[in-house]
Amino acid sequence: MSPKNKLDLWLPRLVLSPSLLAVLIAVYLFIVWTAWISLSSSQMVPKFDFVGVEQYVRLWSTPRWHTAVANLFIFTALFLTITIALGLFLAILLDQKVRAEGFLRAVYLYPMALSFIVTGTAWKWILNPDLGLQKVINELGWTGFVFDWITQPSFAIYCVVIAAVWQSTGFAMAIFLAGLRAIDTSIIKAAQIEGASLPRIYLNVIVPMLRPAFLSVIVLLSYISIKSFDLVLALTNAGPGSATEMPSTFMFAATFRRNQMGVGAASAIMMLMTVAAIIVPYLYSELREDRNAH
């Protein structure tokens, strides 16, 4: 729009500037602040000296942090694979002109409206081996059935995966369904006339066309998994022991419980760099496509 007078020339910039300033401070300046703390000797209170990468060395020599990083990899790999597979499966089934589609979609999606604390609380109860699901199945006659993962240090992380998948599948489904609805159905008909079976058409023709949806889902789910904090805290409280420690819970405990502010800041910067490595190229490509489109 061409500004009609001087006022209209600077007014938009003036109105936008508080937001810009707030974000510059609360996002970018604060990141610099945290990065600085991670290079200082801060423990209980922030100190603005400089000790180089000492805190990072301490961080990477902490066994708990190694557990956290390993868990993040296990969790992210399983969480992404299962959520994407299940979400895509649901989206394809819902795209077959089924009855009560609206109702079913709502059922798969409602967990997304819940707090991770609520999800964690509910699943903690379901996975409780003494009174929960295990007991019900035992009483149904399958007495040998054992499902006590939440009490087993080497299996508890899979409980976090189950709860996270339960909460996030609807999200993957919604994005895949939007992608499927945008595909021209005549492609399916043409392939059917050539004699291809429906599952084969989906596998070889339709799924490859969902590339943009895959990209979005992978990026956003990775982001959810890196920052997942509340779910772990509510479901396992990072235990048994430190078996389900994640970078986010490690950061919180180091900073607010163990007076290791420097180590906490270093772990936060590690998390930030991981997220940025995924998100920045994604945003860059999205914005560039946007510019080409206009």
């Binding site: 996002v27 997304m112 379901i126 994005i175 956003l220």
Partner: protein, 292 residues
Amino acid sequence: MRTEEHSARRSRQIGRVFIYGSLIALAAFYLMPLWVMTVTSLKSLDEIYGGSFIGMPKAITLEAWNKAWQEACIGTACTGLRPYFINSILMVVPAVILSTGIGAINGYILTKWRFAGANAIFGLLLFGCFLPFQAVILPMAQVLGRLHLSGTIPGLVLVHTVYGISFTTLFFRNYFITIPDELTRAAQIDGAGFFRIFFSVMLPTALPIIVVSCIWQFTQIWNDFLFGVSFTAGQSSPITVALNNIVNVTMGRKQYNVDMAAAMIAAIPTLFVYVVAGRYFVRGLTAGAVKG
């Protein structure tokens, strides 16, 4: 020929059975936790320890709901969830209104009053959507302390508003970009200024995206835990923090029915919004992924 047709129909039928079978089985899986939470919250503690998990309560009792609402202990204060529910409302209402309002005007500027560098500014704002908050909670805690806002509801309102701006700006920017520039240009020729065009031309068209933004912000802020647990303590906590405290009490016989009632109380506002306006909720969810 006939048998071929017959077998084609048969395989179609098998396909339909497979589709509905899978959809119903998975629907049961997704509904199960909600069901378990509901029935557990309506049972007496004796019935729960007597081994009833998934079945209907023998005798429905609201005792656990009553306890969760006004008797359960959060730390040393046995006030139930009620004060924390109120805290969450006092936090969520201003934060939603402020962040949505600011996002609306930002989106308007970034689409209808473009100036050099507007795209770069948008990119800077956008990264805020994906910021792992762990990277900013330390300095934020310091700043809230300096402003004498730590541990207060206004402090949480400020934090949620600032970190909400990125998302709300994205919503409105992607929406306003679809509104033809002719509309604003015509208003300008008629003599309308910057604010006049915003309030009488843009906002009236923006109702759907206002709803999307409010629902998204409401869900995010109501469900937040990290900011709540980092910046508040005791009586000023939001409901998610109080819920986590109730559940993690380790003394005495664990009151699962109270835990579930408390979880339901924390979940009801967002579930209600989802049931009433699910369509808009989905739009907010996919807005970060699918370009407007």
